[in-house]
């Protein structure tokens, strides 16, 4: 597994996309901080960028990379090693490469321009989002044989999490506003990993507003130690379940 990890990582290091991702994020973050003059404001803009862009890139890149290395995977599969070792090494390498790129592109500018608690939470949730969507991407790539179809599914999933889910949830909130929906809004908002990551960041940057009546139930839950643990668990599940499923699929797959 370590060998697979090593060679995949070397291959990824040569990959222009990973480098491009790091540079793009660096450019965006640096640009926002330079443009805004006010670090708090720049951080707020960066939140939106991270919440939309990071899942998209992690998802699409993982899917495409899995397809592009299919021959290498086939080559590995005939070697005397378990399939878990192959996939484990590959996924680990992918996660490492993306996280490194993210650390350079996002973590570094945050550290330089605004070393605050909010920035820390933002880069942490960004990293978790990378892992979640890389895991989903791997699962999609293994499930779908066709590359174009796989990318299509990936884009659809991104669209679902970043936009459609919120739209549906908001529609439901307004439609059912006459009913006691309070017990449902917290768990429903917490299911979507992007929303969950955003809430964690929001509790830092919009703290003053979250202390108000409208944010109170979110603040009371996600702002508490127990809530943070639950949120971390949900995000962990969002990583673990696709990864486990991917292993299951890969083990049975006819390469």
């Amino acid at each position: 597994m370590l060998k697979v990890f090593k060679y995949t990582l070397i291959d990824l290091a040569r990959n222009r996309f990973v480098l491009g991702y790091a540079l793009l994020m660096l450019l965006v973050a640096q640009g926002l901080f330079a443009l805004e003059g006010d670090p708090t404001k720049a951080l707020l803009s960066l939140v939106q960028v991270v919440m939309a862009l990071v899942p998209l890139i992690a998802l699409v890149f993982t899917v495409v990379y899995m397809y592009d290395t299919i021959e290498f995977t086939q080559l590995l599969a005939v070697q005397p090693m378990t399939r878990s070792a192959i996939l484990g090494g590959q996924l680990l390498a992918l996660a490492t490469a993306l996280l490194l790129a993210q650390a350079v592109g996002l973590g570094l500018p945050l550290l330089v321009h605004s070393p605050t608690m909010a920035a820390l939470v933002l880069s942490l949730s960004g990293s978790v989002l990378v892992l979640v969507f890389a895991a989903l991407g791997a699962l999609i790539a293994l499930k779908q044989r066709e590359k174009a179809r796989g990318v299509g599914v990936a884009l659809a999933i991104w669209f679902l999490f970043v936009l459609v889910y919120d739209a549906l949830l908001m529609w439901a909130m307004f439609t059912l506003s006459d009913y006691p929906i309070e017990p449902f809004v917290v768990p429903l908002a917490g299911i979507n990993p992007i929303d969950l990551a955003r809430i964690m960041v929001m509790l830092q940057v919009d703290l003053a507003a979250m202390m108000g009546y409208s944010g109170a139930i979110y603040k009371n839950f996600f702002g508490s130690v127990g809530g943070t643990v639950v949120a971390a668990l949900i995000l962990l599940l969002w990583i673990a379940i696709p990864v486990l499923l991917a292993f299951r699929v890969f083990k049975r797959k006819d390469l």
Binding site: F17, V47, V60, L163, S177, E182, L207, Y213
Partner: protein, 458 residues
Amino acid sequence: MRKGLILILACVTGGPLVAHSWTYRAGTSGTLQQVIGKATAGDTIIVDGTVSEGSIHVDRSLVLLGGTDAVIDGGGKNDALRITADDVTVKGFTIRGSRRSNLDDMAGIKVNECRGVVISDNFVDQCFFAIYLSGAKDALIEGNTVLGEPGDEDHMANGIHLWKCSNATIRNNRIEYHRDGIYFEFVTDSHIIGNTSLHNLRYGLHFMFSHRDAYEDNHFEDNGAGVAVMFSKEIAMRRNHFVANRGASAYGLLLKEINDGEIIGNTFQDNTTGIMIDGCNRINVHDNEFRLNGWALRLFANAIDCDFRGNTFAGNTFDVSTNGSLIPNTMNGNYWDRYAGYDLDRDGYGDVPHRPLGFFTLLVEMQPYAMVFSRSLFVSLLDRAERLIPSLTPESMKDDRPLMRPPASLKKGTDHVEEKQDAPAGKVTANEGSSGGVLWLLVGVAFLSSIRYLFPHG
């Protein structure tokens, strides 16, 4: 003959010429109350040590000076110190041990129906009411530190409490852990200057039915609400700091039924709501700074003829919210960090109006739970669409001449603003419009590059 005349004159002009200075050391023979009884108007009594003989009553014009370790301990019986004569000065004491009673309003220092009292440089330690003035004229309360005891509202009272007073000056005091830091009821023509009011359960400063008062250069932090001004006329509020007043019903400044007030040059930071304006007429809100508040301004539709200009709105979750569609108020020449317009004629004012009331603000107003969508892509899309084609937000809620840069008058304000001013001119004008544009550009680029990556030979 001449000598006799001088003697007579001396007697007639009275007090000051024959004023005594007494020194009372606690624990020696007699009590402080006896010394006060022996003194005549205009005398000075210097007190050393801890006086714990119960409630002290000052019934003539005396100057009470705290000497070394001067403490007046009421021993939990009634008021610690009660003043009922004109021109009394109490300076340099530690005062403690008043009785806790909601029925009798017991206080550390109570002043009843008199003129010209001076209370300065005292430390009032965990009294029920700390300094209580009722029916006092021309009072001066200066440089005191007032420390209450954290507890629940029923068992707490106000730090500096004025009832039916006029022409009072309250300057450079520090008040912590009381119910209201400073409370004014039926107090007119008075000034509150340079005080610090922290950690109070209810309000840092509270006005009821008080007219023609001014408060300036005060600091209000972490109170239930910073300042509440209710049912009062002609209150001037200048250069105060309202910081971190947070909670479901917490406001930096709560205005209820106020007429003809002015709010100028204040700073509102990290409050759940910066200013709440409910049922007010003719309030001028000029040159204030609103930073990082949940709601910078909640302007109810029953506010009429309020004028907002020269204010800076930066980093707030919501800049303005309201509860109706009728906005009989004016907004002009404010700086909004969300403004996405342009300034082609370079006169420093944006060429298209700014609508500070976002669509999302209305959504949250209608459905509080929608707060969870703050800063999501979906909401920023909706907000953008609503700004282009306003349908739900009130047409008249707009700033026709939004500033492109924060007003220069804020230069002497907080550190943040100074930093901002130091930045090159072009940088500061960047706003959400540009970052939103950047975001969409990036999403586009990411899409395109992923497609290119997908079909490299295509």
